[in-house]
């Protein structure tokens, strides 16, 4: 049984009305002329019985009329098997599939977790009338979009998150934006706990610091070792395009940036160039370059945008040159000064048939912002698994159960175009109220007083 308008229950206070009427109506007792009062017992006068209700049957009928009306207003809907099926047919699901690195781990039955997750997502989608699948490495960020899509749909909405639910994947705060009428289903993919050690490499110049880490839900064991790397961080696809007078300052910035360790391996397949203000072909590059469209390029831009060191240093930077030197509106602004002027703008061009990400710097090549930019680019190029993805523990079943909830039927009833699926049973109660009203009218008018139904004494028989 569900209630379409639970506030209507407040109407039950009206039940006090018939009780009051029955208590107070005594004040308007009808006057009857009677031959003599000598046989009436004085001790049975009414004032001694002021609180006594009379006509209890009539009172019960009147109270029932009001109760039936109140329950009808509350729009009850009895959940029958047919209705459940009908409502089930209107189910709409938005499925968020976790594709983060932790989902690359093996499941308990073998195979990759992400593959199992995709198979399960397909099965869940097949059960719903309509569905949408979002694959993301950050499930919390996809929830808002999923909810937005559900709001445009008719029927019972349900948000499904398919993940291994590694600790930190999802929290109650992430689900706070989900409306209460939308159901939440959290589908766990069971993965094996990692048993082999993982080598975490931090590269600084030619030095690699290797941390051999063994992670268990209970403990983390790390063995450190140092080695000379064959690859230099600067000897790769990152090029600094600076003018003659800027070369030294740009190089100083690079060296400063190398003091920050970067987790190996780095992306060496894609070319990235930082274009400094004094670079000779800068104007040409600005003219010919376009908006970054390649997936790898946009990912790096997104990581740069999220880099806190670059963001903070940009805020306090002073733009070295005007942005009027080229059309930067076609590029993506990576960082800005506190005044809102761009300090780094990302664009893309093709060099020797390969795509290249161009980061136009609007600050001095030897500035702190410049060093922060190089550091951020090195960090963004890291292909190492984020440390958070190595977390071996997962959210407990109890936590997931607390977050889970069923989609509301009444919401489906309101949204659904199929009115029979969620129709209220209130009409039957209205009918009952009408019948009771007729009964009450009949009782008031036609029911003989109880005393008249008693057999009369025949005075003559008594006399005889």
């Amino acid at each position: 049984m569900t209630w379409g308008n639970a506030w209507a229950w407040a109407g039950l206070v009206t039940l006090a009305l018939p009780v009051l009427i029955h208590l107070l109506s005594r004040g308007h007792a009808r006057v009857q002329r009677f031959p003599t009062l000598r046989f009436l017992e004085a001790s049975r006068l009414l004032p001694t019985r002021r609180t006594r209700l009379h006509d209890l049957l009539l009172l019960a009928v009147r109270a029932s009329i009001l109760a039936a009306a109140v329950i009808a207003l509350a729009q009850p809907a009895l959940r029958t098997a047919n209705r459940s099926r009908a409502v089930g047919r209107t189910l709409v699901r938005a499925i968020v599939l976790d594709t983060s690195a932790s989902m690359e781990r093996a499941t308990t039955s073998g195979g990759r977790a992400v593959d199992s997750a995709r198979a399960m997502a397909r099965r869940i989608a097949g059960e719903a009338q309509a569905s949408m699948l979002i694959e993301t490495r950050f499930p919390p960020r996809a929830i808002a979009g999923a909810v937005e899509w559900l709001n445009t749909q008719t029927g019972r909405g349900e948000l499904v998150v398919v993940s291994d639910f590694q600790r930190g994947t999802l929290s109650a705060a992430d689900l706070a934006i989900v409306p209460p009428t939308v159901g939440v289903r959290l589908q766990r993919i069971l993965v094996r706990e990692p048993t082999l050690p993982v080598d975490l490499i931090a590269r600084s110049g030619h030095d690699d610091v290797i941390a051999r880490t063994t992670l268990t839900p209970q403990s983390t064991n790390v063995e450190w070792s140092l080695r000379r790397s064959a690859v230099h961080t600067s000897n790769d696809q990152l090029s600094l395009l600076a003018g003659p007078s800027e070369g030294v300052r740009a190089d100083a910035s690079r060296r400063a940036a190398e003091t920050f360790a970067v987790r190996a391996p780095l992306d060496s397949a894609h070319a990235i160039a930082i274009v400094y203000p004094q670079f000779a072909q800068r104007a040409d590059l600005l003219r010919t370059a376009s908006v970054p469209a390649a997936r790898w390029a946009t990912e790096i831009v997104a990581r740069l945008h999220a880099d806190s060191i670059l963001a903070v240093s940009s805020m306090s930077a002073v733009a070295a040159i005007s942005t009027t030197g080229g059309d930067t509106t076609r590029g993506l602004v990576v960082a800005r000064t506190i005044a809102g002027k761009p300090t780094v703008v990302a664009m893309q061009d093709s060099s020797d048939g390969a795509q290249r990400l161009l980061l136009f710097s609007f600050v001095d090549a030897g500035s702190l912002t410049s060093a922060a930019l190089i550091t951020a680019v090195n960090g963004a190029r890291s292909l190492a698994t984020p440390l958070s993805e190595l977390e071996p523990s997962t959210l407990s079943d109890a936590t997931l159960a607390a977050l889970r909830r069923e989609p509301a039927v009444e919401a489906a009833a309101r949204n659904s175009t199929n009115r029979t699926a969620g129709a209220s049973d209130g009409r039957w109660l209205w009918l009952l109220a009408l019948l009771l009203l007729a009964l009450e009218t009949w009782m008031r008018r036609a029911l003989p007083p109880a005393s008249l139904s008693r057999p009369r004494l025949d005075a003559n028989e008594r006399a005889a």
Binding site: Q32, F34, F39, L46, S451, R454
Partner: protein, 304 residues
């Protein structure tokens, strides 16, 4: 002839006609007169037998013939019947249907008709607006009509003083006669009883016809009702459902007390319900009275 309901009889405007209808119904039984007069008219002599009352010996005949003869008398028609009718406000109950007053008027008229038809004298005593209203006991057709017209005119109002009315009616009887009191006997219970007993002790034949309506017996109300006394105007708010059992006990006790007192005091008693056809009620009463006469209980007819 089937008995007409009280409603039908009460609906007949002409009280004489109504009385005649009731009396015609009574005659179907073919019983003898329930009222016995005094034997004042000489009929014959018969030889004295041992045990005869010496006062009926004809001393003059004894002087002439030197034989003892007892005088015998023929029954005459000069019985006087006084009807005392209660017209107090309590007789106006019930407001719907036949009231006790209407019923009493029919019974009084029927009795008057019956008594007059049998050649007796009949009179009326009642109280109208606090004053005694009196019609002397006489026989004859014209007197009967005047009497019925007087009975018909009464409307129940105010209170009455039953002891005074009964006492006065007995005083006005020329000699020993019959006093029939038609009332609900709610007023001055003890005084009324005392007066009826006194009248009976003085040699009159006293009859007590108590009228009651079924509504009074049953208290036909539920829940809260404000009852207004028809005579005093006093109002009392009661829960009828609650007090009904006690009320029933009280009114049944009252009726039983009235009947018991009447029996003890030598007063003829009958309870008449307004729901019973008047001729049925009267026939039952008169038959019972006749049986009582035959058994030698009630009649106070004397030999002279």
């Amino acid at each position: 002839m089937s008995a007409l309901s009280p409603t039908v009889v009460a609906a007949i405007d002409d009280l004489e006609l109504a009385a005649r209808i009731v009396v015609e119904g009574l005659r179907t039984g073919g019983h003898r007169s329930p009222f016995h007069g005094y034997s004042t008219e000489f009929r014959q002599h018969r030889p004295y037998r041992a045990g005869d009352d010496l006062k009926y010996l004809d001393w003059k005949l004894f002087a002439r013939s030197d034989r003892l003869y007892t005088r015998q008398f023929r029954e005459t028609t000069n019985l006087s019947v006084m009807i005392v009718l209660d017209t107090s406000a309590s007789m106006a109950f019930p407001p719907e249907g036949v009231s006790k007053c209407q019923y009493g008027q029919i019974v009084a008229a029927a009795l008057s008709y019956l008594v007059s038809e049998q050649g007796h004298a009949v009179g009326l005593m009642t109280m109208d607006a606090g004053k005694l209203s009196y019609v002397a006991a006489r026989g004859g057709r014209q007197h009967l009509r005047a009497l019925l017209a007087r009975i018909d005119r009464f409307t129940p109002a105010g209170a009455w003083d039953p002891a005074r009315v009964i006492a006065r009616s007995a005083q006005l009887l020329q000699r020993r006669g019959v006093v029939i009191v038609i009332s609900d006997f709610y007023d001055a219970e003890e005084e009324t009883r005392r007066e009826m007993r006194r009248v009976a002790q003085r040699g009159h034949d006293v009859a007590m016809l108590q009228l009651i309506s079924p509504s009074e017996m049953e208290l036909p109300y539920t829940d809260h009702v404000e009852l207004e006394d028809l005579e005093s105007g006093e109002r009392r708010l009661v829960d009828a459902t609650t007090i009904a059992p006690a009320y029933h006990d009280a009114i049944h006790d009252f009726i039983a007390r009235c009947r018991g007192n009447a029996l003890r005091d030598g007063v003829d008693y009958a309870l008449m319900s307004t729901a019973t056809p008047p001729e049925t009620a009267l026939r039952d009463y008169l038959l019972r009275r006749s049986r009582g006469l035959a058994a030698g209980h009630a009649p106070r007819a004397v030999q002279k």
